[in-house]
Symmetry: C2
């Protein structure tokens, strides 16, 4: 139960915007950071005390990195298992290997959820063409075929509208090990940013609603318009997941809200992300303790902060050229602008975000973006 006091150094795998915002949260608490990432451009490097630019399979560099920090964390779930093993043998990695192994593979993740009584969309494992046929019989259409690993922002996915599309979809995802998920007629997408401390306590921010555009998060509405019962249920599911994984850190839990009979609704878990999450960026400006600080607190063995918010919020991602609009956004009242310092505004690239604050209880209903 090692606690890392102010003055300690946190190692972060990955040098993107999540690493950047983690590094700033660490600095606020008097903690130093060391970024490890092979990429050429490292948004996180601007605000970190130390940077190692090396490959994730560079064992010598990993060993040096592990020796220079008190704890290692990561900004992305696809940390190679061998990288995690090398680091774990030489120091503390939080969240731990079980969370990584679970979240890296959609089949393992769904089996984990179902085995703990947490509802998901219907799914079947697809190991080969024969497996695809039996999965299609079990799940039917409409459905969606996803690679088990390395999918994000809609990549590695293909929709199947009718049985005749199945093989084409399988080809489209490169015949990789896959999962077939039944399409669920969800009404809205919800997420919960939950944290679990070293002492086992959990703290969840209120559920939020997420609106996607081109498979990329466009806006997060905080809080989601939910009954108290559904909001509590979503938080309880998230707390259950981090507890069952003996998790330490912040996790993003994505859920679907489905209509049932009449006004009744039910929740399914879509997927989990063992890291700070884009749908939690609003906490930087609407809560005393942001998801980034909460993650740093958790992995350092500090008490978790309260997830209470002082304001409602609407967070809008700035994708690609949208960030060119910075001057207008900077002049918008009650708005906190965050730019990630990336040089090239490529299409689909997350360049920044803007969070507009509203007094508690006054968040407007969603408007077209």
């Amino acid at each position: 139960m090692a606690t890392i006091p102010p003055g300690g150094t946190i190692g972060i795998l990955g040098g993107g915007q999540l690493g950047r915002m983690l590094a700033m949260a660490a600095a606020q608490l008097g903690l130093a950071t060391h970024i490890y990432c092979p990429d050429e451009e490292l948004p996180a490097a601007d605000v970190a005390g130390e940077v190692t630019r090396a490959a994730y399979d560079d064992e010598a560099a990993l060993v040096r990195f592990a020796g220079s920090v008190e704890v290692v964390t990561y900004e992305f779930e696809n940390v190679p298992a061998e990288t995690a093993r090398i680091l774990s043998e030489r120091g503390i990695v939080r969240p731990g290997p079980l969370a990584l192994a679970t979240a890296q593979d959609r089949v393992v993740e769904k089996n984990f959820l179902v085995s703990h009584g947490i509802a998901t969309a219907p799914f079947a494992d697809v190991a080969d063409e024969a497996g695809l046929r039996s999965a299609m019989e079990a799940i039917g259409t409409p459905s969606i075929l996803k690679t088990r690993r390395f999918g994000y922002d809609g990549k590695g996915q293909a929709k199947i509208a009718s049985a005749a599309d199945a093989l084409a979809a399988y080809d489209e995802i490169g015949r990789a090990p896959a999962i077939l998920e039944g399409f669920v007629p969800f009404e809205r997408e919800i997420s919960v940013i939950v944290a679990r401390g070293l002492d086992g306590r959990t703290a969840a921010y209120d559920p939020v609603e997420n609106i996607h555009k081109n498979h990329i998060l466009d806006r997060t509405l905080a809080p989601a318009a939910l009954t108290r019962a559904l909001s509590d249920e979503a938080c309880a599911i998230a707390a259950r997941i981090v507890s069952e994984l003996d998790y330490v850190g912040v996790m993003g839990v994505e859920l679907f809200l489905l209509p049932e009979s009449g006004s009744k609704r039910r929740l399914l878990v879509n997927e989990i992300a063992p890291r700070v999450h884009n749908s939690g960026h609003w906490t930087m400006d609407a809560c005393a303790v942001s998801q980034f600080e909460q993650h740093i607190r958790a992995i350092c063995g500090w008490p978790l902060g309260s997830p209470a918010r002082h304001s409602d919020a609407v967070m809008t991602n700035l994708i690609g050229e949208e960030a060119a609009d910075w001057a207008r956004l900077a002049a918008t009242p009650d708005t906190a602008l965050h730019l990630y310092g990336k040089r090239e505004a490529r299409p689909g690239r997350k360049m920044g975000h803007a969070t507009r604050l509203y007094p508690l209880g006054t968040r407007p209903p969603v408007t077209p973006s």
Copy 2:
């Protein structure tokens, strides 16, 4: 009217906690920072992209520094005039030389204020022993003798209770060029954090009340309990000062609140600080745009942010060993903890601060610390 867009680099003279928080605010806006400071330990260096550790009279280093940034600013008012001159000849320095020259010398500052019809405590220039005698005749006692330059946190000051103390006080401050100020029986100390943009617009956060301990700021209460008329007057004075100085950036304006007849009160300006100010730290957690971001916006020619606050706040400085209390503070609800990454908790050293948030209009009255 050069605007510095995201991707630009800001040079900051000084590497302490104010530089650190400025660098983080710049990073949030996608701007890089370059810290210039001769000190061994540089809290700002942890979060800056580049650091030059060199003396303020190292002309070659200053020239290189000026060539590497789009604009130079500073975290302390005692930037040597020659340093400012070298940098101004090679680039943009904001706030400009007039603000520095005015704020560096208590006599120049008071004359500036009085010449613009802004009330101050009575004062007289003390150039030598004869000057001290005539100043004592003009100002009387109780009064306070202060060095014209380089005073801070009560340093370079001596109280004069009766005429017999005058020479001892003069010796105590090393017979440096001085100002004698009449002691004013103030009820409370107030400050206004005001910003002026490149376009001449001003924006002031609501006035706050400051409580000192051992001549060092202990707590800031936001907002100050003031009538609307006095609050408006304090903000108008602050806006007047930055406008008359053709100032660009954030300034801290310290005022005394004095009893008049009955419930009437009046304001005197105590001193100005041409930089972000300790009594503005609460804006980091209680406003969409903090004083640090506001300063960066101003010096980069961006639109100023709204100074509106979403929460009331009480900021408490953590001086010396008080920062050892970090774990309890981290567990206090609705509290944002800020630690500056300084290694040694020397007495009187500002190690961090904690800001407790309250819903608008519910800040409790001051309690003993």
